[in-house]
Symmetry: none
Subunit: 236 residues, 2 copies
């Protein structure tokens, strides 16, 4: 208990870490405990939604303590979280399109590019800071490939042949990837000294933490809820 | 365990935090583990009841430790708890009226006003103490809108068209919001120096913690039990 610290009333970063951890925890309980109500073929998708928020919940507990102890961005933990949860989101695209004939190769392709995106991003943000724009560029290309695949590539075609609720859900998830995920590269650019063609945005790192924390909640819980409601509509 | 402290035998605040955490924890287990016995369409409501007490349980564990460490009201944690659980209570109103044709817009409206109520309340209580009556007024208006909506507005009409057990449960929940929830603004006024038109009530902050802890238990567990028994009566 001597470890407990007071949180300043205007510590918005700490606040969003705390709310984030609780929201992720509650969302996981929600997804896990709702499993029984779905037809068998939808359960795995909802279970994976729960895994994504559950992994995030545990990371958020760490990140909160880290922030509390050092008042510094927990970049390391963020990337560990992403490297587990982003590939799982790729799995979700595959799972909802499976009935329409999606092949495992589509899943592995998306996973592969998501890992490239995150590993190169980490190098640029935390290891080789001097070459951050080169690493960021590789990362950005991998991100672009994912966006292309789901918006215009094979995944899109499968979603169209599935039609109905699957197509609707796929389209919403595509918007998550295009808009919701875009906050991370934007934050990367703003947080890099001389981030874009030498322009220095001088954005406070702790401001970016607030943006990431809100973004994560939307991207993980929102993404999961889209799949949850697809499962609700498709069961029974 | 070296962190463990003795609790004074007359530390009633600490006592209610401790009992509160245990009661919330037990209530969550109760709601979660009863899910299977209900018809599918009632499960989500009972699951959300469990989420409300579960989120509260985790916050109570923190608040207990905080109280233990600083002998000070854990205002911050209370608001984090509320900002997650009060919107979920609004979701409950929507869920039980869904069969009667409640629209999602009703849910979002209630959620919106509950968030306004809590955020402005937090500003008045913890950030801009000098302007606490202005913030409290805005918060109170938002609270009033919620009360109006469920007692006399659209939600009331839907409950009446549903009739039967749903109407009965809706009415009980309305009383929770009008009477049970009212202890929080009353506490806010009593706890503010010169709270009402300059009258200073000089109420001890720790007295208010005892009231809040008892109120929370009634409002969260009681609210959940109303929904639980509605689900029992409507299943089979
Ligand atoms: C393109 C790009 C990036 C993309 C990161 C993304 C897209 C992360 C997504 C995270 C998600 C979805 C978390 C879930 O909540 C980095 C690594 C910042 C480096 C700069 C270039
Ligand atoms: C109107 C008003 C308030 C209302 C708070 C309420 C209504 C809180 C409800 C909490 C619940 C229901 C917790 C669950 O157990 C504040 C923020 C104190 C500020 C002053 C004005």
């Amino acid at each position: 208990l001597s470890d407990m610290t007071k949180m300043a009333t205007d510590d918005y970063v700490g606040f969003t870490f705390f709310v984030g951890s609780m929201a992720m925890m509650a969302a996981s309980a929600f997804f896990f405990l709702s499993l029984n109500q779905f037809d068998k073929k939808w359960r795995t998708s909802v279970l994976v939604s729960g895994l994504i928020t559950f992994i995030a919940a545990v990371h958020y507990f760490y990140m909160r303590d880290y922030w509390d102890a050092f008042q510094e961005s927990p970049t390391f933990f963020r990337y560990v979280d992403w490297v587990l949860t982003v590939p799982l989101m790729c799995v979700e695209f595959f799972l909802i399109l499976r009935a329409a004939g999606a092949k495992r190769s589509l899943m592995w392709r998306l996973i592969f590019f998501s890992v490239i995106m995150l590993v190169t991003g980490y190098f640029g943000e935390a290891v080789w800071r001097d070459a951050s724009w080169q690493w960021g560029l590789i990362s950005g290309i991998a991100y672009f490939v994912i966006v292309y695949d789901i918006w215009l590539g094979k995944a899109r075609k499968l979603a169209e042949s599935a039609g109905g609720e699957v197509l609707k859900a796929h389209k919403i998830l595509c918007w998550f990837v295009l808009v919701g995920w875009a906050i991370y590269p934007v934050g990367y650019i703003l947080g890099t000294p001389g981030g874009l063609f030498g322009i220095d945005f001088g954005v406070d790192a702790s401001f970016m933490d607030v943006v990431y924390n809100i973004g994560d909640a939307v991207n993980k819980i929102g993404f999961g809820l889209v799949i949850y409601s697809l499962a609700v509509k498709s069961s029974k």
